[in-house]
């Protein structure tokens, strides 16, 4: 099974808004675990079955579920309002695709999530870097940041609805909050946990302040920072869907709610499939960037 991101714990990474403090003690363990895992994988890759067989093995379960679903709706074991037939879902999907309804909603959702994420990214990186580099700033800001992070996105929602209404601003603020917290936390911790011996080497080489940052601190902290960015994106996507479910008149989340209200479960299922597919594509995209961005680290092994 591939390394799965949204919920994985790599040392410093912090899950959700209320983070687990990925302590430094964990980090060594994770590195050890990762090394042995890599060795294990290599061994497995040598001796196990060819990939084609793996690929084939993935299909029986979903196909069985699909068959059961088709049978259940064909013989009407379950009312079509509760579980529409697979054909109905496929047909609705095609219609929504052809009519452009799906694209329009998808576009709106993507714009929102990218906008919110961009704001959260910039804010989170800035906050994390400042807290990581300056103990004074950290002393002042970290406690209130932690308190702010303790309340999940959904806890802020009613308050923000009162303050800014249910317009676009609400969505951007909530999505950026969802992205900001893990990014700031991981950036801060990543910078904090740069080994002191790296800094010492930099001092021996008489690096200037900027050289130290550019050549030592940031490259060393890149992995946890990137981890935070991936978490941030996952959370942004989660926040987008929930805010669209609760307060929106367009977008994928709205399609789901709308279909639910009209008891058109085929629309709901079609939209859910799209939400899953987009999540999948985004996750794969970030994983691909990660390989390029952090590929140099693997040369060490």
């Amino acid at each position: 099974m591939e390394r799965s991101l949204p919920l994985r714990l790599d040392g410093v990474a912090s899950p959700l808004d209320v983070g687990i403090d990925g302590g430094d003690s964990n980090q060594r363990d994770t590195v050890l675990a990762r090394q042995s895992r890599a060795a294990w994988r290599r061994r497995v890759a040598e001796q196990t079955w060819p990939p084609l067989r793996d690929w084939l093995l993935a299909w029986p379960l979903p196909l069985a579920v699909l068959a059961l679903w088709a049978l259940a709706s064909h013989f009407e074991w379950i009312a079509p309002q509760v579980l529409p037939s697979p054909e109905a879902v496929a047909l609705t999907f095609k219609e929504a695709l052809v009519s452009g309804e799906l694209w329009a909603n998808l576009q709106i959702s993507l714009l929102r999530v990218l906008g919110g994420f961009a704001v959260g990214l910039v804010g989170g990186l800035a906050l994390g870097v400042v807290m990581g580099l300056s103990p004074t700033v950290k002393d002042y800001v970290y406690p209130i940041f932690k308190a702010f992070a303790q309340v999940p996105v959904l806890g802020w929602l009613p308050l923000l609805m009162l303050l800014v209404g249910i317009d676009e601003a609400l969505k951007i603020i909530l999505i950026s909050k969802a992205a900001l917290v893990p990014i700031a936390l991981n950036t801060y911790k990543g910078i904090q946990s740069v080994p002191t011996r790296f800094i010492e080497v930099g001092k021996v080489l008489k690096f200037t302040r900027w050289q130290m940052l550019g050549k030592v601190v940031f490259p060393a902290a890149l992995a946890p920072i990137w981890n935070g960015i991936r978490y941030g994106f996952t959370h942004a996507w989660l926040a987008l869907v929930v805010v669209e479910l609760l307060a929106s008149s367009e977008g994928l989340g709205f399609m789901i709610v709308y279909g639910r209200q009209l008891f058109q479960l085929d629309v709901v299922l079609a939209a859910v499939v799209v939400v899953g597919a987009v999540g999948y594509v985004l996750d794969k995209g970030l994983a691909a960037i990660e390989t390029r961005l952090l590929g140099w680290r693997k040369q060490a092994f």
């Binding site: 099974m1 591939e2 799965s4 949204p6 919920l7 994985r8 714990l9 899950p15 959700l16 808004d17 209320v18 687990i20 403090d21 003690s25 675990a33 042995s36 895992r37 060795a39 294990w40 061994r43 196990t48 793996d54 093995l57 993935a58 379960l61 509760v82 579980l83 004074t136 002393d139 002042y140 209130i144 999940p152 996105v153 959904l154 806890g155 802020w156 929602l157 009613p158 308050l159 009162l162 303050l163 989660l238 869907v241 929930v242 479910l245 609760l246 989340g253 789901i256 639910r260 008891f263 479960l265 709901v268 299922l269 939209a271 859910v272 939400v275 899953g276 597919a277 999540g279 999948y280």
Partner: protein, 260 residues
């Protein structure tokens, strides 16, 4: 005097909250805004006290927490089972893994409308949703934990002629426990987030989320602010309890080497 020595270190964390509180108080006191949403800090406090004395907040919190823990218990136990199976059997991983990863991609809250059709709007739909929320992180981390048990350990088990049960109880589970606990911790956090989401989206019954939604509908800012505070407090407490249990159960790990 430089800024670094202006305030003693231990008190620096209080500076921002106090400044914000002062600004808030001043905004009310000097009438900087005529919006009815600008309520006095004292009023929020009073609402909080009223809610506590009348027991309303405890009723709501009790309902929320009961659902939270119930759903979490179902989801986490199912997750442990599935995660252990996927971790221990390569065949199971190949059969179920890809489907699991595909399902995982569906944003959690997108399930709610479907679940509401299948389970109704009552507690069962909420509990089903919460268990789903806890299920995914627990499966992933249990799987990762078991899969990353060093092969050397299993060789030790073979040398010592451990039975299957012994190998699991004495080697695999302890070795995988940090990751498993991390998964359970995550599951708890996700379940709490999902509790709120379920109460917003399946508006029926009682709960802290319903309290906040009600406050929003009536423009009771004091109620909403109090709700935000309670939600943060509960999240913090759950987090704290989980960390304590984790630290306690994993304490042997730092001792084990030093003992010999």
């Amino acid at each position: 005097m430089s800024a670094a020595t202006l305030v003693p270190r231990s008190l620096r964390g209080f500076v921002f909250p106090l400044v914000l509180l002062a600004l808030w108080w001043a905004a009310v006191r000097f009438g900087w805004s005529s919006s009815p949403l600008l309520v006095a800090p004292g009023q929020v406090w009073q609402t909080g006290v009223e809610q506590v004395i009348s027991g309303k907040v405890f009723a709501a919190l009790g309902a929320s927490l009961w659902r939270d823990l119930f759903g979490f218990a179902i989801g986490a136990s199912a997750g442990l089972g599935v995660g252990a199976l996927l971790g221990a059997s390569r065949l199971a991983e190949k059969l179920v893994g890809p489907s699991f990863h595909t399902l995982k991609q569906i944003s959690l809250f997108a399930w709610i409308p479907l679940l509401s059709v299948w389970f109704g709007l009552g507690d069962s739909a909420k509990v089903a949703f919460l268990s789903l929320a806890a299920f995914f992180p627990v499966v992933l981390n249990t799987f990762e934990g078991i899969r990353s048990v060093p092969a050397d350990l299993l060789e030790v088990a073979r040398v010592l002629k451990f039975s299957r049960t012994q190998a699991w109880v004495k080697l695999i589970l302890p070795a995988a426990s940090p990751s498993i606990f991390a998964g359970i911790h995550l599951g708890l956090i996700y379940a709490w987030l999902a509790t709120l989401g379920a109460e917003y989206l399946l508006v029926s019954g009682q709960g802290i989320g319903n309290l906040m939604i009600e406050g929003r509908e009536h423009f009771w800012m004091d109620m909403v602010l109090f709700g935000v505070f309670v939600v943060g407090l509960v999240g913090f407490t759950l987090n704290w309890i989980a960390s304590r249990i984790e630290a306690h159960s994993l304490a042997w790990r730092s001792r084990s080497v030093a003992q010999f």
